[in-house]
Each structure stands twice: as structure tokens, then as C-alpha cells.
Amino acid sequence: MRERLHLGSFELMVLLAVIRLSDEAYGVPISREIRERGGRTVTFGSLYATLERLEQKGLISSELGEPTPERGGRAKKYFRVTAKGLREVRVAQRALQNLWEDLPQLEARRT
């Protein structure tokens, strides 16, 4: 039986941001995406800790880009979601959709 990873909510947000950004997924755009679309402010320290954890779980991979002057000559680290990462996102999406369905309290508020 396949081992389930159980993504945390922030891990899921980071994975979705990486998927959305595609080839431009490095620290700065990922944090902006989470801030603007997810409505959550995140420090780079905790973002990188999460990215490192996701990479250790095999859900994302990374590669170094070229150093650029606006970054003080430091290279960008680009992230990409792996097949395993995509699978885990779909599993999380299905689980959340199942939980959202037919919630009577939410139905009442909508009217």
C-alpha cells in the first residue's frame, strides 16, 4: 500500500503556488503568489524550510539558475513539482472537496 504523506495547509499552498508559477517558481514569486492569492504573509525563512521539507519528501525538485546583480550576485533556486507532488495535490483536493460537500451550515449562510 502506498504511503500517504498528509500535506499541511501551508505545504499545500506552496505546492499550488509552485504549480501556478511553472517555470518561474523561485522564492520571490512563490511568496508573492501566496500573499496575493492565498492572503497569507510568509517570511522567506519559513518558506524555504517548507520548500526544503517538500523536496525531502520528493514532492518537488530544484535547480540553481544564474546569479543576477539585483540579488547581490546570488543564484535563484527554481522549484518544480514532481509527479509524486502532483499526485499528492490531487489526493488533498479530493479529500477537501469531499469534506466541503453538503455542509448544512454553509448552505444556510449562502441564502
Binding site: 520571490v28 519559513s46 540553481l64 543576477t68 546583480p69 547581490g72 550576485g73 546570488r74 543564484a75 535563484k76
Partner: protein, 212 residues
């Protein structure tokens, strides 16, 4: 986009206290975002946050290394203390086994003791840094352990700080105690980091800085 340099002290701290593979790209991201109209306070907040996260990750991931670093550091300190504590006796009369006043660390002339003791603490920090070149947080952890041990001096320092207002003769004692509280952790930190930062040296960072 801002053209100003990032706060140098905060950048230095980031270079020395964030560890692992993320170091360079993390600092680059903070600098890039800072140059998009972020304040110096924001940069400092990001730097301190990144250091604390890195510190926590190191402790969780390398428990045995933490134990080794603290053991090596304290063993060096005890050895140094033993060697330093024994030679004043050699200078004194064989019939008088009292420690000369100048070598009482918390005494009136305690600063003489600190002149000898600080190189020993610095040496312990240097050794810990040397043994853990790829895990810079170990120096910080060892320094923090020494600072925690020194916290026992705080009540005495507070008492002396109050007493010094009524009688100035307590001032040398206060200075000596303050030196004992702050200088060993600081010297451990500085000497431990003397081995050079851990980062990917293959990136031509200085070339970029010069070309700006």
C-alpha cells in the same frame, strides 16, 4: 527598484547563521525583495526570522551534532579553566595556597583574569567552529549554552547595579561581572565564525558587486 545596498550587518548574520543548501538562494531572494521598496526593518525581520528557522531546523535534524558541539566546547572550556586556574598557584608561595587577588574572576582586579580567560573561551568557539564547518548553527548553540549558564550571574549583577549608585567602589566589581556575562559568549561566537562562512563559493558574487 531600490539601488541601495542591503543592511550589511544583517546580510553578514544571514551569511554566517543560515545553513544548509538554501543559504545562497534564500539571501538572494531577501535582497531581491528588499530592493523592491522594502524597508530596512523588513530586511532585519526577514534576517532574524530566517536565522531562527535555520537554527530550529538544525537542532531538529542534527541532535547528535548539537550534543557533540556542546560537549567539545564545554570540555575545551574546562580544560582551559583547569590550566589557567593552576598556574597562579605555581607563581605563589608553596606555603600559601590562596588564589592571588588578580586571579579572582569576580574580584576587584578581576579584569586581569578576563584578559587570560577570553582567549580560552575564544579558542573553544574556534574549535567548535572548526569541527562543524558545514553546520555553523553549532557555534551559535554552544554560545547560547554558555550564555544560559551565565544567566546565574544576573541577580548578582542586578544587586551590584543598584549598589553602585550608593557606593562607587562597587563599579569595578560590576564591570568585571558584566564582562564575565557578555564577553565569553561573544568571543565564542566571533572565534567560531572566524573559520569563514559556509556558502557556495563557486558563485561570482564579488564580480557582480564590483560591476554595479
Amino acid at each position: 527598484m531600490k539601488s541601495s545596498e542591503s543592511p550589511s550587518v544583517a546580510t553578514w548574520l544571514l551569511e554566517h547563521f543560515t545553513c544548509g543548501q538554501r543559504n545562497d538562494s534564500l539571501i538572494g531572494d531577501i535582497i531581491e525583495e528588499y530592493r523592491c521598496d522594502r524597508s530596512r526593518a523588513w530586511f532585519w525581520k526577514e534576517a532574524v526570522g530566517a536565522i531562527l528557522v535555520s537554527f530550529g531546523t538544525e537542532i531538529r535534524a542534527n541532535g547528535l551534532l548539537v550534543l557533540r558541539a556542546v560537549t567539545i566546547g564545554w570540555a575545551t572550556l574546562y580544560l582551559g579553566r583547569f590550566l589557567l586556574g593552576s598556574w597562579p598557584y605555581m607563581l605563589s608561595s608553596p606555603f600559601d595556597r590562596r588564589v592571588p587577588e588578580a586571579f579572582d574572576p569576580l574580584g576587584h582586579n578581576g579584569f586581569i583574569w578576563w584578559i587570560f580567560w577570553i582567549p580560552v573561551t575564544a579558542m573553544s568557539g574556534w574549535i567548535v567552529g572548526r569541527f562543524h564547518r558545514t553546520h555553523r548553527a553549532m557555534v551559535l548553540i554552544f554560545s547560547a549554552s554558555v550564555l544560559s549558564w551565565n544567566l546565574r550571574m544576573l541577580p548578582w549583577i542586578c544587586t551590584l547595579s543598584i549598589d553602585v549608585f550608593s557606593n562607587s567602589r562597587y563599579l569595578p566589581y560590576l564591570i568585571s561581572n558584566l564582562a564575565g556575562f557578555t564577553l565569553p559568549p561573544a568571543s565564542i561566537l566571533l572565534a567560531g565564525l572566524w573559520n569563514g562562512p559556509h556558502r557556495n563559493e563557486s558563485l561570482p558574487r564579488n564580480t557582480w558587486r564590483l560591476s554595479k
